[in-house]
Amino acid sequence: MERYFQKEIECMSLEELRKLQDDKLKKQVKHVWDNVPYYRKKMEKAGLTPDDIKSRDDLHKLPFLSKADLRECYPYGLLGAPLEKCERIHSTSGTTGKRVVAFYTKEDLDLWSDCTARALVAAGATKESVVQVAYGYGLFTGGAGLNDGSHKVGCLTVPASSGNTDRQIMFIRDLGASIICCTPSYAAFLGERMKEMGLSPDDIPLKAGIFGAEAWSEEMRRDIEKTMGIKAFDIYGLTELSGPGVAFECSEQQGMHVNEDHFIPEIIDPDTLEVLPDDTEGELVFTALDKEAFPLLRYRTRDICSLTRKKCSCGRTLIRMAKPKGRTDDMLIIRGVNVFPSQIETVLLNNGYAANYQIIVGRVNNTDTLDVRVEMTPEMFTDNMGEIEARQARLVAGMQSMLGIKAKVTLVAPKSIQRSEGKAVRVIDNRKI
């Protein structure tokens, strides 16, 4: 039977939800107008005052905020509460530019832990559960977010943080952890290590995992579920909005429920900035309704996905967002076709290769070229040359059907693809446009 942390909210009627959102939105716009001069100027420029926003139907009138605004406002420019009311900061990794620093009041932290508690309960957590948090603790929101949610549920929380894999496995087994929270790539790594140690799913007490903070595919989910014998739940969030828990997956695993009492999602066309209807793909935009210290309105996430109001059999009425296909800034336009690195990754994993690849885009005679360099693995290597070529041909065919354009696939030596900070440099665009 499906369990909820706050049933009265997670299953509330659409009518009640609208009313709640309208009330909160009006209050929040006023709060921002009064406390964030940067955004107030944006509203004034658009000829708006708080009185123009009467309900969420007026939301589309409000100006957007983007990552560029956040960088410009670093560190205090978007602060919505006096510093003495703030209790903590978190920060993004800063891999794509200057760091973003987000502030939290006591109330902000409290509502954030409600969000992650909902995710944990949806994944099966109860007061009796042992929850191991293997997200990094520190500036990163992963560790703190799930840690606080786990406390809120009343679980025994193991603040393992990331790394030290053998110790992680020891704690999981010795303490009987039933839920693990970490990045999907670390979950895959943990699973591999367990396999190497000769542990079968029966030797591992875990029943569920909550994995987020980076893109992962359905194939990767199935791999992780099989190796550890668990159910893998997706979770979504951004430091800018709080952290993990903006949206979370239920046992149906058909998209993530957005915590709409705290965040209003919209999908827009990233070019025209027009709001798109449900079930249409576009850029995800969020308005934080309750955030006091870092109150972002209409923040453009750059994530590409769709929203759906279709009924979910878990009983929750909260709108669902599809797993983001990729970020607008990851999207490549090759021969006029939109290509996401995550699509290429899916084809590789489907065909038995690892997700170690590099995409090289070039231009020859005014035509774009797409070259995918894939690292050879011990599993995919054989002494039979014809077989290697046949597998390579299957990759090419798989990419053609996934992307709609032809890619050249080159097999390269293991570990030959350049990595920075442990992450592979995925795309090299040599086109001079």
Partner: protein
């Protein structure tokens, strides 16, 4: 009586083979035979060495993907027609060769050896034995 061959994935770029032989040299691995096959954008180096397991380990540690497979090593006299006799025997028995390469006899100066990858290794082995050919085992290869 097959022997172990090590096949190594070779990315198609200058210096790959040299990097591999550098690893072998540093680890004092003695090669008996080497063949390199190439496709459009990668190659496979196939090695017969004195210490198979050591070679597989040091190559893996150096980041070379490699695999061991069973091949036949047939001793032939280093005279005209030596290889032809072996192949006649095999074709009479309808044994299909995937690939082969050869090397001269090391300390046995009047001999040559052919390394063969065949589809049906047991059938090839018995055919050659009945035909009176000498198949070399792992130990003998190491001592050559």
């Amino acid at each position: 009586m097959s022997i172990k061959q090590i096949s190594v994935f070779m990315e198609n770029k200058p210096g790959t083979l040299e990097e591999m032989t550098e690893v072998l040299a540093k680890n004092n691995i003695d090669m008996r035979a080497l063949s390199v096959a190439e496709a459009e954008d990668f190659g496979i180096a196939r090695l017969i060495v004195d210490d198979v397991y050591e070679t597989a380990t040091v190559l893996k540690d150096a980041g070379f993907v490699n695999k061991m497979s069973d091949v036949l090593a047939v001793e032939i006299p280093d005279t005209p027609g030596g290889l032809n006799k072996v192949l006649k025997t095999l074709s009479a028995a309808q044994v299909n060769l995937e690939y082969m390469y050869a090397f001269l006899g090391g300390k046995a100066a009047d001999k040559a050896f052919i390394i063969m990858k065949v589809a049906h290794i047991d059938r090839a082995e018995s055919t050659l034995k009945i035909g009176g050919f000498n198949l070399v085992d792992q130990e003998q290869i190491s001592e050559l």
